[in-house]
């Protein structure tokens, strides 16, 4: 326990970076995901194809490879991202947005087609019917799967440890190196750190769910 108590500051800094990574990537992924899901259900064929391609490519690529591509391959083609936090945010948010888009799409599909038809019948445009009628219902349905995606995102931020971001795992490695006698304990501390973050996220989700719940 001593090793954890002595290095609580290092843990805290790492946890803070993990939370920041999650927050930025989560917000961007939600925004990208909404756009992507809207494109996938849009009446324009080329938009549907583009969004479907984006989703299929990103969700079928291992996250480590996404990182590898942005950090090491893209620079070969002149795209020089500064290694570190923002590169990680780009990778995590694009990767997660594919899952967000799919969760949202399932929500959109769960809204009865009659609702969309009625919305169009009273003269709303596609955008309006999506924004005013379909999405508000869809988003409520997909709160639980979205929280799943966000919890996965929290844990996925650990991949950034290998790509120049000192978040919780990288901080834990530093502590473990300085305290080889307690290395298992130190990694246990890292796991507890993640638990604290994901469980608070879960509690938050439960509150949101209760607030927006509705009966059909």
């Amino acid at each position: 326990m001593g090793a954890i108590a002595d290095n609580i500051g290092t843990y805290w800094d790492g946890a803070l970076v993990t939370v920041q990574l999650t927050a930025w990537s989560g917000i961007i992924a939600l925004a990208l995901g909404v756009v992507c899901a809207a494109m996938r259900v849009s009446p324009v064929g080329s938009l549907r194809v583009a969004a479907a391609t984006y989703v299929e490519v990103l969700r079928n690529t291992p996250l480590t490879l996404v990182f590898f591509f942005v950090a090491f391959v893209a620079p070969q083609f002149g795209l020089l991202a500064p290694l570190g936090f923002w590169t990680a945010v780009i990778c995590l948010s694009t990767y997660t947005s594919a899952f967000v888009a799919e969760a949202l799409r399932s929500g959109v599909n769960s809204v009865g087609v009659g609702q969309a038809e009625a919305a169009r019948a009273i003269g709303l445009t596609f955008g309006q019917s999506l924004q005013e009628v379909v999405l508000p219902q869809a988003v409520r349905t997909v709160i639980p799967p979205l929280i799943n995606v966000l919890i996965a995102l929290v844990k996925n931020t650990s991949v950034a440890a290998g790509f120049a971001v000192v978040e919780l795992v990288a901080a834990g490695r530093r502590v473990a190196l300085a305290n080889p006698a307690d290395s298992l304990m130190v990694l246990g501390g890292v796991a507890v750190g993640y638990l604290v973050i994901t469980m608070s996220l879960g509690a938050l989700a439960a509150t949101v769910e209760r607030k927006v719940v509705f009966t059909r």
């Binding site: 620079p75 020089l80 500064p82 290694l83 790509f163 990288a170 490695r173 190196l177 006698a181």
Partner: protein, 292 residues
């Protein structure tokens, strides 16, 4: 009835096969020339680790798989390098031929847990001997003393040594000793920790980082493979590489130390060096074994 007879026949056949397989066991595997083919379990004190390993006829060795000159794995899964030669030499003295050595990849952060849990018998993996580690594992050796240094592009004019690191972006491995050294000694440098040293090379070429820092021998391997890289400045740390083994197995440690001293004396240490790291680096004097 018929199925039962078939089953009996099958059992008998497999028993025969098994016996045949066992019969080939004593075929003479090729030992390295400097190995001791006469080593037998009886030569070692009863109950010692040496006796157990010699009896089993195999040894599990943890080493690096991604370090040119020291431990670099080929497509066939067998690593090559100075660490590998040292481990082979030790195994040879136990009467264990190279094909009977199980190589396990150990990375910087899992060496102690692997030794403590017994997943490996020894670790020869550019493993720096230091005091916190001595509380968890035992070290034989050192068998080589490296030092941390810097690798830059040949046309870099700003970094000529460790004193020029203020504000420089220095790539190293997350959770490694060089990373800790950089953070402690050069607080003005921006440390960029990646997963492995080889991953630092592309960013160095691209200018995403200004230098790569770790033990000179590792950097020398990279510099030898690519003309656009160059080592800069003096070594600013001393990293004695030891052989990690279970804590309090003093008998085994003393024995490995004896083997190392013999290898210094009979030239097999030097031969191992010249075949591997010696292709790029000058042959140093073997360091004195530290029987702490």
């Amino acid at each position: 009835m018929r199925t039962r007879r078939a089953a009996t026949a099958l059992v008998a056949a497999s028993a025969l096969l098994l016996a045949a397989a066992c019969g080939t066991d004593d075929a003479d595997d090729a030992l390295p020339e400097d190995a001791d083919p006469t080593a037998e379990p009886g030569d070692f004190p009863e109950g010692s680790t040496m006796a157990r390993l010699a009896e089993a006829g195999s040894i599990t060795v943890g080493t690096k798989f991604d370090q040119p000159l020291f431990g670099l794995v080929g497509p066939d899964g067998v690593p090559e390098g100075f660490d590998v030669e040292i481990a082979t030499l030790i195994a040879g003295r136990l009467g264990i031929a190279p094909p009977d050595i199980d190589w396990v990849e150990t990375i910087s952060s899992n060496r102690e847990p692997f030794i403590e849990s017994g997943q490996v018998d020894i670790v020869v993996a550019t493993y720096t001997i230091n005091d916190p580690r001595k509380e968890v594992v035992s070290f034989a050796g050192p068998y080589y003393v490296a030092g941390q240094s810097l690798l830059t592009l040949v046309d870099n004019t700003e970094i000529n040594g460790p004193d020029d690191l203020d504000g420089a972006r220095v790539c190293t491995v997350s959770g490694s000793t060089p990373e800790a050294n950089l953070l402690d000694n050069f607080p003005e440098a921006e440390v960029i920790p990646l997963g492995t040293y080889s991953e630092c090379l592309e960013p160095l070429r691209n200018g995403q980082v200004d230098a790569v820092s770790t033990d000179n021998v590792i950097l020398a391997g990279f510099a030898a493979e690519d003309d656009s890289f160059e080592l800069r400045g003096e070594q600013f740390t001393e990293e004695p590489y030891g052989i990690g083994l279970a804590l309090e197995d003093e008998e085994f440690r003393d024995w490995i130390n004896d083997v190392l001293e013999e290898a210094y004396a009979d030239g097999s240490w030097e031969r191992a060096w010249e075949q591997t790291a010696g292709t790029v680096l000058a042959t140093p004097e073997p360091p004195a074994v530290d029987r702490y």
